[in-house]
C-alpha cells in the first residue's frame, strides 16, 4: 500500500511532464527556489521578452512556460489545477467558464478597465482580431477581398483556382476556432454561406493559426479564414508574401486573457506575473510586448472585442455545441 502511495507521488509530476506539449521552455535557473508554471495557448516566442523582463531582478525565480492548444489546455488544467499557477488562453469562452466554475483566484487592487476583466479574476491583456490572410501571389489578377461577401464571390468565381487551397480552423479541435466560428455565426448569416463555399472547395482544416500561416507562406494554401492576424504580422520573414485583411463588414476580435489558478502553489508570484502582464500591455514597447495591447484595436477602429460575460458559455453547452458542430460539419465537409 505504502509503495503504491510513494509510486503515485512520484508518477503524478512525471505524468504532468510527460504530457505532449506544443512548446515547453524553462526560463531562469531551473533549480531556483521559486518556480512559476504558466500554462498558455500562446506561442512561446511571444512570451520570451515578457518573461525575460519579469525575471529581471528575480534571481530566485524560474518560469516554466508550457504551451498547447486552447481546448487541450482547458482539459489539462481542469484535471490538475494545482499543477499550474497562471493560465493564459485566447479562448475567451473557455477561460470565462474556468473562472465561472471557480478555478480562478480573485486578484484585487488591479486598475484594469471593467470591460477587460471578469470578477477581478480573469484579465484580458490583448485585443486580436480574426483576419483573412491571403498569399498575395495567389490573388494575382484578382481583387483583394475586403469583406466576407467579397471573399465568397472571389472563391465562387474562381472555384478551380482555390479548390483545396482554402484553410480555416477545425472548430472541433480548436477552442479559439470554435469561439471565432460561433461569434461569426452569431453576428451574421454570411458566415454560413462562406462555410458552404469553403466546404465546396475542399477546405483544409487546421488546429492552429501558426500552422495555417506556415502553409500560406509556403504557398500550400492561398487563403486562410479566421486566422490570428497578430501571428501573421509578427512573422517578419513573410510579410512580403502575405496580406492580412481585417474584414470590414463586421469584426471578430478576441481578447487573450490570463487567470491565476485557485490552487496555485505560488499565488503571490502568479499575481505578480499577471500584474506584470497587465502593466506591459499598456506601457511596454513592441519589443517588450510583442502582442497587440488592449487599446490597439479599440483606439484605431473603435471595434469592440467579444465581451467578457457569462453568455460566452452559451456555445460551450453540450446541446448547443452538438447542434453547432453538426451544422458546421454539414457545411464544411461535403466532399470528404
Amino acid at each position: 500500500m505504502r509503495y503504491i502511495a510513494v509510486l503515485s507521488l512520484a508518477v503524478i509530476p512525471l505524468a504532468a511532464i510527460a504530457q505532449d506539449w506544443e512548446g515547453r521552455r524553462v526560463f531562469g535557473d531551473a533549480d531556483a527556489p521559486q518556480s512559476l508554471r504558466v500554462l498558455s495557448s500562446t506561442d512561446t516566442s511571444f512570451f520570451v521578452p515578457i518573461i525575460d523582463s519579469f525575471l529581471e531582478g528575480r534571481a530566485d525565480v524560474s518560469v516554466e512556460y508550457l504551451s498547447t492548444g486552447t481546448a487541450d489546455l482547458d482539459e489539462i488544467f481542469r484535471e490538475n489545477p494545482d499543477q499550474y499557477d497562471v493560465v493564459i488562453s485566447s479562448a475567451m469562452d473557455l477561460q470565462l467558464k474556468l473562472t465561472n466554475d471557480g478555478y480562478a483566484q480573485r486578484l484585487d487592487g488591479f486598475a484594469h478597465p471593467d470591460w477587460a476583466q471578469w470578477r477581478s479574476s480573469l484579465f484580458a491583456f490583448t485585443t486580436e482580431p480574426a483576419a483573412i490572410v491571403i498569399n498575395t501571389a495567389a490573388f494575382d489578377g484578382l481583387d483583394i477581398p475586403a469583406t466576407r461577401q467579397d471573399l465568397i464571390e472571389v472563391l465562387r468565381e474562381n472555384a478551380p483556382r482555390f479548390d483545396g487551397r482554402v484553410g480555416t480552423y477545425d472548430v472541433r479541435q480548436s477552442g479559439l476556432g470554435y469561439l471565432f466560428a460561433t461569434q461569426d455565426a452569431r453576428a451574421s448569416e454570411s458566415y454560413w454561406r462562406l462555410m458552404e463555399v469553403i466546404g465546396s472547395l475542399n477546405a483544409q482544416l487546421y488546429c492552429c493559426s501558426g500552422a495555417m500561416i506556415d502553409d500560406l507562406a509556403a504557398g500550400r494554401i492561398s487563403v486562410a479564414y479566421n486566422v490570428l492576424g497578430s501571428y501573421a504580422l509578427a512573422r517578419q520573414d513573410i510579410t512580403e508574401v502575405l496580406t492580412v485583411i481585417l474584414p470590414s463588414d463586421f469584426p471578430t476580435t478576441m481578447m487573450r486573457s490570463a487567470l491565476v489558478s485557485n490552487a496555485s502553489s505560488e499565488p503571490a508570484l502568479a499575481e505578480a506575473f499577471v500584474s506584470h502582464l497587465i502593466r506591459l500591455q499598456s506601457q511596454g514597447s513592441p519589443e517588450d510586448f510583442p502582442l497587440p495591447s488592449l487599446d490597439a484595436i479599440q483606439d484605431t477602429t473603435g471595434r469592440a472585442a467579444i465581451s467578457l460575460e457569462p453568455a460566452l458559455m452559451t456555445y460551450l453547452d453540450t446541446l448547443k455545441r452538438q447542434v453547432f458542430i453538426r451544422e458546421w460539419e454539414n457545411a464544411i465537409i461535403q466532399n470528404q
Binding site: S120, P310, A311, T314
Partner: protein
C-alpha cells in the same frame, strides 16, 4: 428661609430622553423596514431575470428525430450579466436526467410539477439563487419533460443592498439628528415656561404678594393658581398681624396718655422725696411705652405704604427745609443748632409721608444722642447721586454695634437713659429700601454720627 430643596430627577432629562430614545427606536425600525423591503424588491428583480432566462432556454427546446435539441439563444445567459460579474450556472434535464450543464446544481428535479420555483442554495462556496421551470414536449412516441434550472450568485444583489443600507442608514441618522434637535428644542421651550415663572417669582420684592396674572400654559395653571392662593393667604395673615399691631398700639397709647397726665398731676402734688422718685420712674416708663407704641404704629404704617408705594415728584430740599424748620424749636430747647446744607434742587419720585418719617427719625436721633451746644447738619447732594446725610457732633455709633443698629428693636448699649424703642433706624432703612435706595451708618472724623441715605 431659602432651604435647599432636594432634587429628584430632571423633567428636561426625562422629556429629552423619551423623545430622543423614541426617535432612535424609530430610526432603527425605519432602517430595518426599508432594508427588508429593499431586499425583497431586489430579490424579486433577480428572480424575474432568472425566470426570463429559464423561459428563453425552455422555449428553444424542440424534438428532432426523437431527441431533444436545445439551441438556446445567446441572450439567455447574456441577460444575466451584472456589474459585479455574478457567476452563472444552469442545468438542463430531460425527464429527470441531466442533458447538459451543471449536474450538481441542486436536487434532480421531480418529473412532475409545473410550477416555476425559486430557491436559494449554497453552490461552490457561494449562495446562489436558482430558478427552475419545466415544459412538456409531445413526441411521436411519448411526451418528454424538459426541466431547465438557472442559477446566479448574489454579488450584485449584495452590492445593491449594501448601497441601499448605507443610504438608509444615512437617512436614519439624519432623521435621528433632526429629531434630537427637535427634542432639544421642544424640551427647552417646555422647561422655558417653568424657568420664566421661576424668574418672575425670584424677581419679586420681599413685600410683593400680589397674584401672578401673566398667562401661563394650561398645564401650569393649577400650579400658579395654588401659588396665588398661597400668596393671598400669606398676605392675609401678614395684614392680620399688622392690623393687630396697629390696633394694639392704639389701645395702649390712649390709656397711657391718660395715665401720664394723672401721674404728672400727682407728681405736682406730692412732696415726699420717695413718692416723687417713684412717680418720676412711673412717668418715664409711661413715656417709654408710649414712644414704643408710636414707633410701632409708624413702623406698621411704613411697612404698609412701602408695599404699595405711591410715587410722586418730591422736591427733597424743600421738604427737608420744612422739616428742619419744624424741628428747630425742639433743637433750640437743647441748645443745638440745626443746619440745612443744600447744593441745589433735588428731586425724587417717592412717598412724601414715608420720607418725612424717615428723616424725622434721623434728626430725632441726632437731637437725642448729641450733646448740648453742638450743631446738626442735614446735607443734601443732588450730584453725582442724590444723597442726604444727617451729621451730628456727638459720640457717634460704637463700631462694634454699627452693623446691627438698624435691626428691629436693637438699641446701642450706650442708649440707656434715652427714651427709645430701637425702631428709628429700622424705619429709615425700610423707607430707603422702598425707594430703591440704601442707608449707610458711619462716623465722621470728629467722631460724630453720620447717617447717609442714597437714592
Amino acid at each position: 428661609m431659602t432651604g435647599e430643596v432636594p432634587a429628584y430627577g430632571s423633567l428636561r432629562d426625562r422629556l429629552a430622553s423619551i423623545l430622543i430614545g423614541g426617535s432612535a427606536v424609530l430610526a432603527v425600525l425605519l432602517f430595518f423596514v426599508v432594508r427588508g423591503y429593499a431586499a425583497q424588491v431586489a430579490q424579486e428583480g433577480q428572480d424575474s431575470i432568472l425566470s426570463a432566462s429559464v423561459s428563453s432556454i425552455l422555449d428553444a427546446a424542440v424534438l428532432r428525430d426523437g431527441a431533444i435539441e436545445l439551441d438556446f439563444p445567446y441572450a439567455s445567459l447574456s441577460m444575466l450579466s451584472t456589474a459585479s460579474d455574478d457567476r452563472v450556472f444552469y442545468a438542463i434535464y430531460e425527464d429527470g436526467t441531466l442533458l447538459s450543464g451543471y449536474g450538481d446544481l441542486g436536487d434532480t428535479p421531480a418529473v412532475a410539477g409545473d410550477a416555476r420555483t425559486f430557491a436559494s442554495l449554497d453552490y461552490d462556496a457561494a449562495t446562489v439563487r436558482v430558478a427552475t421551470a419545466s415544459r412538456t414536449l409531445i413526441g411521436a412516441d411519448r411526451p418528454r419533460r424538459v426541466t431547465v434550472r438557472v442559477a446566479q450568485t448574489q454579488d450584485a444583489l449584495a452590492e445593491t443592498l449594501n448601497q441601499i443600507s448605507r443610504n438608509v442608514a444615512m437617512f436614519g441618522l439624519g432623521f435621528f439628528a433632526l429629531a434630537t434637535v427637535l427634542a432639544y428644542w421642544a424640551t427647552s421651550t417646555t422647561i422655558g415656561q417653568l424657568s420664566r415663572l421661576t424668574t418672575s417669582v425670584t424677581r419679586r420684592g420681599p413685600q410683593d404678594l400680589s397674584p401672578f396674572l401673566k398667562p401661563v400654559p394650561r398645564e401650569m395653571v393649577p400650579l400658579v393658581g395654588s401659588l396665588n392662593t398661597l400668596m393671598v393667604r400669606l398676605e392675609h395673615s401678614l395684614k392680620q398681624s399688622e392690623d393687630f399691631i396697629v390696633e394694639a398700639a392704639h389701645r395702649v397709647r390712649t390709656p397711657l396718655a391718660t395715665v401720664r397726665s394723672y401721674a404728672e398731676a400727682t407728681f405736682q402734688r406730692v412732696q415726699e422725696p420717695e413718692n416723687r422718685t417713684a412717680l418720676r420712674a412711673m412717668m418715664r416708663a409711661i413715656d417709654e411705652s408710649s414712644r414704643a407704641a408710636g414707633q410701632l404704629l409708624d413702623h406698621a404704617m411704613v411697612t404698609f405704604r412701602a408695599e404699595n408705594l405711591e410715587r410722586e415728584e418730591i422736591t427733597l430740599d424743600a421738604m427737608l427745609r420744612d422739616l428742619v424748620e419744624r424741628m428747630t424749636p425742639i433743637a433750640e430747647m437743647r441748645d443745638v443748632t440745626l443746619r440745612l446744607d443744600s447744593d441745589g434742587p433735588a428731586v425724587l419720585r417717592g412717598d412724601a409721608v414715608l420720607l418725612q418719617n424717615a428723616f424725622r427719625n434721623l434728626i430725632d436721633n441726632a437731637l437725642k444722642y448729641a450733646p448740648v451746644d453742638t450743631a446738626i447738619t442735614v446735607r443734601i447732594r443732588a450730584t453725582p447721586q442724590l444723597s442726604v446725610d444727617v451729621i451730628d457732633e456727638g459720640r457717634g455709633f460704637s463700631p462694634d454695634e454699627i452693623d446691627i443698629l438698624a435691626t428691629r428693636f436693637v438699641r446701642g448699649h450706650d442708649a440707656e437713659g434715652h427714651i427709645g424703642s430701637g425702631l428709628g433706624l429700622t424705619i429709615a432703612k425700610d423707607v430707603a429700601t422702598a425707594h430703591d435706595g440704601t442707608m449707610v451708618l458711619s462716623n465722621t472724623q470728629k467722631g460724630g454720627a453720620c447717617v447717609t441715605l442714597r437714592f
